[in-house]
């Protein structure tokens, strides 16, 4: 890293400092020079750690795309030195740093896929189908590949609850809860504290694709 870049864009944080908080307007993104940054989200009464990042990692990159509120918080886990960029000056950084540009390319690829997958859920007309498709998505995020042919259908245990499902499918929590309870009664899923178990994912997939076909 060129010294003048550090001088010009470098910011220092002490351990425990908030670099940005969820719901804050997001105007800049960061490249970690030294130290560790932890990405968190407060869900109900608990703080969930989403990721721990180190030197060379980037975060807050959605600020380049759009001025939307931050979806998660970034906190300095140790003493941190990071370079701060905004929409106007980030190309300077990328042009001088191919590794970083490639990293960003990867992050964007993944984000496009995730956003399209979310769009598939949201575009369903029926609330039950939205919840069912969210459960399928959560299974995919755990590594389940719907295109792989299996002889047996094993139950899939997800680390999820009413809140996390609700935030994915864009439905209110009380509606999500009602539908999840209905799925339990229909013997499709099991719910225990912070886990949801899908009994037969193929059945859910069939159910969702049926709903997708009849948008009148």
């Amino acid at each position: 890293m060129a010294i003048n870049m550090l001088e010009k864009y470098g910011r220092n944080y002490r351990a425990g400092d908030i670099i940005f908080s969820e719901h804050e307007p997001g105007n800049s993104f960061y490249l970690i020079h030294s130290g560790k940054v932890i990405i968190t989200k407060i869900v109900g009464e608990t703080e969930k750690n989403l990721d721990i990042l180190g030197p060379g990692d980037i975060f807050g990159e959605m600020a380049i795309i759009e001025e939307a509120p931050r979806s998660a918080s970034a906190l300095a886990e140790t003493e941190v030195k990071a370079l701060e960029f905004n929409k106007e000056n980030f190309e300077i950084l990328l042009k001088s740093n191919a590794a970083m540009a490639i990293k960003l390319l990867k992050v964007f690829s993944k984000r496009i896929y995730d956003a399209r997958r979310k769009l598939m859920i949201l575009s369903l007309l029926d609330d039950e189908a939205k919840v069912a498709d969210t459960l399928i998505l959560l299974a995919e995020m755990k590594g389940y590949n719907p295109n792989e042919v299996r002889e047996f259908v094993e139950p899939i245990e997800l680390e999820a609850n009413n809140q996390s499902v609700s935030s994915w499918c864009g439905l209110k929590e009380d509606i999500t809860k009602k539908i999840l309870t209905q799925f339990v009664n229909q013997n499709r899923i099991l719910i225990s504290h912070n886990t949801i178990t899908i009994k037969n994912i193929n059945e859910l997939i069939r159910y969702v694709s049926q709903k997708r076909k009849i948008p009148e």
Binding site: D17, I18, H23, I42, P69, A101, K106, L122
Partner: protein, 332 residues
């Protein structure tokens, strides 16, 4: 090593939903990509790839299944690369890389706008209230430093917000918690050392800064300015200290509030010189204009307001500059 392969017209290069880590460059011929556009109501769409173009990049580098089926529309010569080989190649061709980044960021922006359309109003809650709630979480968990940050941010973004008075109160409470040092044993030790000296507040720039923000929010601009001057006069010790930078800006705002326009102009001009890329630079330019306007130097004021209009994307500050310019025109 990249592999060169030929495909006969009509043959499939890869299928939708396949998982693969290969990136393709078309050397000769023509390739058609067929896909379902989720954005456009699941319409069947096609894209044409011409010689020199890459395809299969996104799913390979993002390691997710192919979103399209690629078919040779004529006899083709195609170069097949692993993700690693692609990265090596891209690193040497910054222009191609930047172009791809632009395409991807446009796609991402586009798909996000569709996602937003589906989220109904009752799901998107008020941002200011949500931010305030984060502060509550930290307060409850006795993480006063972090709570202090949230409430000071709340007051920065929403000085006239519904919860502003409550935020000021909580900010003060968070600060009390901070002085007690419950959440940071290291800092207690540091503070005990400092307590022998003059006031403990100025020894820690962060604390002094928050103290000043709190004074400012109570309209005690003189007290705030004194605290901020202390921080600024100590200098940033060669490092680009976050709080030094903020204090510099805030000090200018204090002078502006106290109608000490020469001082305000001096602070904001220096701030811009020192931190031309800071997100607050535009506001600093506006504040210089405002200072000149208030001392009757309208020509200079106009110059700075016009500068604001030319800086970055249009926002609230542009509107303020616009109306200030109109006001000057009316009075002339």
């Amino acid at each position: 090593m990249p592999i060169a392969r030929t495909y006969k017209a009509g043959s499939v290069i890869y299928f939708e939903k396949e998982k693969s880590d290969k990136v393709f460059i078309l050397k000769e011929g023509k390739v058609i990509l067929r896909y379902t556009s989720i954005e456009e109501n699941f319409a069947e769409k096609t894209d044409t790839i011409n010689p020199g173009q890459f395809f299969g990049v996104k799913s390979a580098v993002g390691s997710f299944p192919r979103e399209e089926t690629a078919t040779a529309a004529a006899n083709c010569k195609i170069l097949i690369l692993s993700v690693q080989e692609f990265e090596q190649l891209a690193a040497k061709n910054m222009n191609i890389l930047m172009k791809m980044l632009r395409v991807f960021s446009n796609q991402l922006r586009n798909v996000h706008s569709y996602v937003r359309k589906y989220l109904t109003h009752d799901v998107i809650e008020q941002r200011d209230v949500e931010l305030f709630k984060i502060g509550d979480f930290y307060m409850k968990n006795k993480r006063f430093d972090q709570a202090g940050y949230i409430y000071s941010k709340y007051l920065e973004y929403y000085p006239d917000g519904e919860l502003a008075d409550e935020a000021k109160l909580r900010f003060a409470n968070a600060k009390k918690g901070m002085t007690m040092g419950i959440n940071n044993p290291n800092r207690i030790a540091a503070e005990q050392k400092n307590r022998t000296g003059s006031s403990a507040t100025t020894s820690d720039p962060t604390k002094a800064y928050y103290e000043a923000v709190s004074m400012f929010s109570k309209n005690k601009f003189r007290e705030a300015a004194n605290l901020l001057s202390d921080i600024v006069n100590k200098g940033d010790k060669g490092s680009n200290n976050e709080f030094y930078r903020k204090s510099f800006f805030q000090l200018g705002k204090c002078y502006l509030k106290m109608n000490e326009y020469d001082n305000a102009i001096d602070k904001f001009s220096n701030f811009i010189k020192k931190y031309p890329d800071d997100s607050a630079a535009k506001e600093a330019v506006f504040n210089i204009g405002l200072s000149y306007k208030n001392i009757g130097e309208t020509e200079k004021a106009k110059g700075f307001f016009n500068k604001v209009m030319s800086m970055g994307t249009e926002d609230k500050i542009n509107l303020k500059a616009q109306s200030a310019l109109e006001e000057i025109d009316r009075s002339e």
